[in-house]
Subunit: 125 residues, 2 copies
Amino acid sequence: MIDKSKARRSTRQRRLIVDAVKHSLNHPSASDIYATLADSGIGIATIYRQLSALVEDGEIGSVKYQGEVRYDPIIQPHAHIVCSKCDKIWDVELPKEIKNLAPTNGSFEKLDVDLTWKGVCSDCR
Amino acid sequence: MIDKSKARRSTRQRRLIVDAVKHSLNHPSASDIYATLADSGIGIATIYRQLSALVEDGEIGSVKYQGEVRYDPIIQPHAHIVCSKCDKIWDVELPKEIKNLAPTNGSFEKLDVDLTWKGVCSDCR
DNA sequence: GTTACTATCGATAATGAATATCATTATCTT
DNA sequence: AAGATAATGATATTCATTATCGATAGTAAC
Ligand SMILES: [Mn+2]
Ligand SMILES: [Mn+2]
Ligand SMILES: [Zn+2]
Ligand SMILES: [Zn+2]
């Protein structure tokens, strides 16, 4: 549990982890980041802790796919297209029309959208 | 791993499990079904095995939410709206316009859509 | 710069969902 | 009824993630 009321310290680990996500291309998982930063000596617990904290702080985004969390350098709302063969994830634009398609019947307010297309990419065919 | 080339046998367990999902209202998880069928003596492994088999056979649907699989009596394509407080999941219609919004740039073919709205339900406010 | 406070770290134990193993049981075909 | 084998249930195992806790290192005050 991370307490948002306390100031966040700028540690070597945190700087390296944000940087790794910000420069990532394929929506890396926690263990991807761990592998990327292998020679930094950062512990796996710190990787998980900081990734969660960074998402909570709104510095990075996250997507769930196939039972694991993948991290995203893009924080603006956008959709994804995933390949069910190689599990790669690409960013696609979120259609502006989507807002008008939000359900209105129930009494939900300020709805977030999660839109993902799934198929098989060209490399996998 | 379930082999689709072999015939599937009609067991007491399988019948009870389909039935439980078909009569369910809240997109139950495997352990929800396990709890529902507690007095049947069905083992947890069988619950998981049959739920996977039933999805594979197209007899029930499934949705992933919060790192766990939830099962769905509805097999027709539809969207969902989830409450981030109580984790309940409701069915909503999948807008027909969504097909036209599918990304065309890449060389993906026959894309499936996964559309989920997220918010806080009326009960949780 | 030194001190004091405490957030953060790293090693590792623990958790929770899901799958694998394997001897036993029950279904289906002949 | 008998034989072949799919399915079951108890339990071990895997995998991602979280919790625990003593040690370490940012940070602000002096
Ligand atoms: Mn993205
Ligand atoms: Mn549904
Ligand atoms: Zn692919
Ligand atoms: Zn709710």
